[in-house]
């Protein structure tokens, strides 16, 4: 632990408050407040517990939900894929045997684990939160230290409620000023990843700060923290403030009454101290960020919608030139071509990055009064049963359905190609998800990451296009 009287960062403070023991080489035994489980990365961990005759130490600090594998069609029907069905049944068997709270598939509480945690008030500021999923960084938007772990560590947390960890480096990313119309949290994050590169945050915890970050609502902050891992950082954090407290208050599992007041008083102490030292720091001018998207097969392959894709010869490093050549070939793009105007086959609005009610409202605002282009299959997949219900109460489902979108049940869906929602080979998709890796959305599928508004605009025009044209039209 650092000297508590010297200025500390948000990350340092949350870390220090969870250290049980520090070993000789600096490795710490870190207490974990919340452990979230899903069906894909937990079965082998439960098997490990059984083999060693161990129990779950704190079922009352644990929560499980199935999201990766679940079909996003009619929930009253059985799951067709026997392997998916078996994996979900295995989770249900495990949570029963080890007394872990579980949000069943039939329940409105079910959804993507990174949507459900904050929505239920299970994830709270100042906590350490882990899950066997790299997008656990999402929960850092609340001012918690949240990061993804492998299955061996899932087993370690189940058995001990701790992890053996070393303190990471501190990085601060400031986004200062006001964003221009049409620019969302997703565009800010793509700009940050484009600047840092996919390994720029490796070994660091990123704190997002600056006036443009403070101005974001919680959904926007979650979009930012969610994609920290796409810049290589295991965790992203934002200092809790009034926006955070207002979001948390009244959620089913959040503290109530006097306990809430006590918690807020503590959460207010977590902000980075004046003079705290960051190992690295970058600042972006919010006004310079344009509606953006990815052109290639790494999240760092970012372009403003007005931009042209690169040419291999733009890169002096032969490995980079080769990677660019391969990415262009995979994506079916010509070197140097403008990205706008490229036809899309599929539009996917969903995932733990962009499936919250605010995301659906932003997409619906573009879609209203338009039709999905004939050549496009477009789908909206809400992040949870509650998001779906809220959207329906606002009439957003009607806007999407009238335009020709599919309106589906909650789940990870087309973000990762392990449930029935997948791209066909060579289909091109404007997607609000987080990874454009080769094959991520299905073998040989082509992914362009973008904001919900940009995805909605692509659905209507049938091409990647500048969302600002629609917004001017609406104004």
């Amino acid at each position: 632990m650092q000297n508590p009287s010297s200025p500390r960062t948000l990350y340092d403070k949350v870390w220090d408050d969870h250290v049980i023991e520090t070993f000789e080489d600096g490795t710490c035994l870190l207490y974990i407040d919340r452990h979230l489980l899903h069906e894909v990365t937990s079965p082998q961990a439960f098997d490990g517990l059984r083999a060693a005759h161990r129990q779950v130490r704190r079922p009352d600090a644990t929560m499980a939900v199935a999201d990766h594998n679940v079909p996003t069609t009619d929930r009253s029907l059985p799951i067709e894929d026997p392997k998916s069905r078996f994996q979900i049944e295995t989770l249900e068997k495990n949570v029963k045997e080890f007394h872990v709270p579980y949000f069943a598939l039939s329940s409105e509480d079910q959804g993507i684990v990174h949507v459900v945690g904050p929505e239920q008030g299970i994830s709270l500021p100042g906590m350490t939160i882990v899950c066997g999923d790299s997008h656990t960084s999402t929960h850092g938007a609340l001012g918690s230290l949240a990061f993804g772990i492998g299955t061996s560590e899932v087993e370690h947390v189940l058995a001990t409620q701790t992890l053996q960890q070393k303190h990471a480096k501190n990085m601060r990313v400031n986004v200062e000023g006001e964003v221009r119309p049409g620019v969302t949290a997703k565009d800010i994050m793509l700009a940050i990843i484009g600047r840092l590169g996919t390994a720029g945050g490796t070994g660091h915890v990123i704190e997002y700060a600056g006036s443009a970050v403070r101005a974001l609502d919680m959904a926007g902050r979650m979009t930012l923290c969610n994609m920290s891992i796409e810049a290589g950082a295991r965790a992203g954090m934002i200092a809790p403030d009034e926006t955070t407290f207002a979001y948390v208050q009244g959620r089913p599992f959040a503290p109530k009454g006097k306990e809430f007041e006590e918690a807020v008083a503590y959460w207010k102490t977590l902000s980075t101290d004046e003079g705290a030292v960051f190992d690295s720091e970058i600042t972006l001018d919010a006004a310079e960020i344009q509606p953006s998207l990815t052109w290639g097969t790494s999240p760092e392959d970012v372009l403003p919608i007005s931009g042209n894709v690169p040419r291999p010869e733009d890169f002096a490093d032969p490995a980079k030139a080769e990677r660019t050549r391969r990415a262009l070939k995979y994506m079916g793009l010509e070197p140097g071509q403008p990205i706008a105007g490229t036809p899309v086959d599929v539009v996917f609005i969903g995932s733990c990055t962009n499936s919250r009610i605010e995301d659906l409202r932003a997409a619906a605002a573009i879609v209203k009064g338009h039709k999905v282009a004939d050549s496009v299959r477009a789908m909206v997949v809400p992040g949870s049963g509650h998001v779906r219900k809220q959207a329906e109460s606002e009439g957003l489902d009607k806007i999407f359905l009238d335009a020709g979108f599919e309106w589906r049940e909650a789940g990870c869906s087309m973000c990762l190609g392990m449930n029935p929602d997948r791209l066909e080979p060579f289909q091109r998709c404007a997607s609000t998800s987080n990874r454009n890796f080769e094959g991520r959305q299905g073998p040989n599928g082509r992914t362009h990451l973008c904001s919900p508004a940009m995805a909605a605009a692509a659905a209507i025009t049938g091409t990647l296009c500048d969302v600002r044209k629609f917004q001017q039209e609406a104004a």
């Binding site: 080489d25 001990t160 290589g232 503290p255 080769e438």
Partner: protein
């Protein structure tokens, strides 16, 4: 976990950067509840053609490298998803050591948890080792974790750095859960701190 001490083996060169864990093992193979059996799908998209036949150009399909136990790549190996199925797939294929100029954090960690030794070396050294590896089956590398050296086919030694704590765990094949459980009383004392009173239970929803 199996101990890792010394390994003398064939190394496969895969000169790509940013190899993500979706490349190492695509999501549709994660519907397993086992740790084993994933080796046949390792690098599935690169290793097999659309008709299911092997891609003869992919390094692990070449006769010289079918029994490789060391994999050498370029920067940022294992980025993306936290899936431990990636080291499980490597291990199931037979890979016990990965060498790269840099690794993504979660993958790096997951390797150690499964007895795979990840070695970080400067890019030019990785490229030299790849050239050694291109000599094929007769060109074996020796990785000596005790002495922290790689011995090239010509006998030259390349030393590497590794976290001493993690080195010990690999050398002894330790179970870190048993280690942590020795601190059970300290964990309980921590849980009982009065400053933690505000933290609610996830067990039942208050109405």
């Amino acid at each position: 976990m199996e101990k890792f001490t010394t390994l003398t083996a064939i190394a496969a060169p895969l000169p790509q950067e940013n190899i993500d864990t979706d490349q190492i093992i695509p999501a549709h193979f994660l519907k397993t509840t086992q740790r084993t059996g994933l080796g046949k799908h390792l690098f599935d998209a690169q290793r097999y053609q659309s008709d299911g036949s092997e891609n003869p150009d992919f390094v692990l399909n070449k006769s010289a490298y079918r029994h490789a136990e060391i994999l050498i790549t370029l920067d940022n190996l294992g980025c993306g998803s936290s899936r431990e199925h990636a080291p499980w797939a490597l291990l199931d294929f037979g890979i016990k050591c990965v060498i790269a100029p840099s690794f993504a954090d979660i993958f790096h960690n997951n390797c150690f948890k499964n007895g795979i030794l990840p070695i970080k070396l400067p890019r030019d050294v990785c490229e030299t080792l790849m050239r050694d590896a291109e000599a094929g089956a007769n060109a074996r590398l020796t990785v000596d974790l005790e002495r922290q050296v790689i011995i090239r086919p010509d006998g030259e030694k390349v030393s590497f750095e590794i976290d001493p704590f993690r080195r010990q765990i690999l050398l002894e094949g330790l179970d870190d859960i048993s280690q942590t459980l020795q601190f059970g009383k300290d964990i309980t004392r921590f849980e009982e701190r009065s400053s933690r009173r505000w933290i609610p239970s996830t067990l039942k929803k208050e109405v």
